[in-house]
């Protein structure tokens, strides 16, 4: 097995509950995401949140992103103290409740401002990132080159294909400087070739920084599991209204994380069956 250690908690969901009036949507959601350290690698975290339609995945996604407040409970994140950030300084961390803007959010339809060109949208995001002060343009161009959108910088969102929109959304949120990247159904409606590219892209992002944490909300279990290190399953327990996390699977322990051809492994198939049984 690849050597690794799990250290500090980067994100913790504590007793999350969401109700609309008397209707309970989510209850008792508790989980944490820890920093994974692999010697010689900048290994980020990739966590999947899977569940059937109508299980409250989108609501949980919105709560995690800080766009929606839960009825009770909280999301605590660990972040570098802004004042301590300077080249060569020792990072000092603090814990606090998540706020809108803390997470990089990539919506299912990769929404972008229709009145901004790709270049303008990316620069807007880069200017929000204090660490990029003075080098916004250069960093933006680096990402554009890396993610193959350099030729479409002058275009408007309505002139982009779905795959291009997705890449632009990801770069925008990366430029913003968020360590957490939340992706809502990133594999939905993609053909096989594009799907492979998206998987590759997400793996590339997860390897860009040790603290980079991808949280993928998806109902495409096979693809989500193939790129994740941990899977949380959202489901229902008998006799209780609303959804909760019914299971979590550590894919690293099973030797299924960080493997290119993981889909060919028998244990991968078994894990998928196990997840399906929980849904």
């Amino acid at each position: 097995m690849t050597p690794y250690t799990k250290t500090e908690v980067l994100l913790q969901a504590k007793d999350l509950q969401l109700s609309y009036g008397n209707k309970c949507i989510l209850h008792d959601i508790n989980f944490s995401i820890r920093d994974i350290i692999r010697p010689g690698l900048q290994q980020g975290q990739v966590v999947s949140l899977v569940g059937r339609s109508g299980m409250g995945k989108t609501q949980l996604f919105r709560i995690l992103s800080g766009l929606q407040k839960p009825t009770s409970g909280s999301i605590i994140i660990r972040e570098r103290k802004p004042a301590e950030v300077s080249p060569g300084s020792i990072a000092v961390f603090q814990e606090r409740a998540v706020r809108p803007g803390d997470m990089g959010v990539i919506f299912q339809n990769y929404y972008q401002f229709g009145w901004r060109t790709v270049r303008q949208s990316l620069l807007l995001a880069a200017r929000r990132n204090k660490l990029l002060e003075g080098k916004e343009e250069d960093t933006m161009l680096q990402y554009a080159e890396q993610f193959d959108v350099i030729d479409i910088l002058h275009r408007y969102p309505s002139q982009l294909s779905g795959g291009q929109q997705q890449r632009v959304s990801i770069i925008q949120q990366l430029l913003k400087g968020a360590n957490f990247l939340l992706l809502d159904e990133p594999f939905s409606g993609l053909d096989v070739c594009v799907l492979d590219k998206v998987v590759e892209l997400l793996q590339q992002v997860s390897l860009s920084d040790e603290l980079k944490t991808l949280i993928i909300v998806s109902h495409d279990i096979a693809t989500a599991v193939a790129i994740s290190d941990t899977v949380f399953i959202l489901g229902r327990t008998k006799g209780v209204e609303g959804s909760t996390l019914v299971r979590s699977i550590d894919l690293i322990e099973r030797g299924l994380a960080w493997q290119k051809d993981v889909r060919r492994e028998r244990e991968f198939e078994e894990t998928l069956e196990e997840i399906k049984a929980c849904l």
Partner: protein, 254 residues
Amino acid sequence: MFKPFEKISKQNFLIMVGLQVFFILLVWQLSPIGLIPQPTHVLSALGQLLGTRLLIDNLLVSLLLTLQAMLYSILITLVFSYLSVIPFFHSVAQFIVKCRYLTLTGLIFIFTLLTKDGSQLKLSLLIFGIVPFFTTSFLAVILRIPAQEYELCQTLGYSRWESLYEVIVIGKADQVFEMVRQNFAIAWMMITMVEGLNMSEGGIGALLIKYNKYNDLPHVIALQAIIFGIGLFFDYLLGLLRHWLFPYTMAHKK
């Protein structure tokens, strides 16, 4: 051409419209209805009008007044529409919208007391008449903004004021042109009415009232045709300006 949802080329569309107009004019010419003048009479009146300075002078007066009123109306509309997302000002914006149901005729006396001269009276009446319609249109634009536009701002860490600026002020700037385009007709319609209140300065409305008074129908219809033509011209011009200033309104998937 007679099938539902059939698409026809722009050229064919123009030919079709040309033929339809020709057909209507032909029917109009060949079947005179009582006192309504025939197209040839209207055309002759139009030629007469175009040959004098009378039309140009009055037209300029009307256009200047309309443009002035439109400019002030846009500014007032934008201020109250932008502020409408602040709960304190929402009720004010809603009240302006409801002012559509007030008639200008009933307010002439109040406005006469409030203004210094006929020119100011006309201008303020026009602004009062236009602003509720502009505000109604622009508030509808703001209400139609998808929540995702604000959410994208939130995810980028924008403050609420920054979100207002990005999504409404910048993001809907093109819609201001669309709002003006859609409501220019209202302004143009009102100008003929308010010019009737103070005829000393002239204007196309005053001219229209004068010809109406003497039952000079060929000139009335000729003037209507000019008013119609200018309306269409401004409609086209504003559309063109919108696409030129905001290229994304023309951007399509490549």
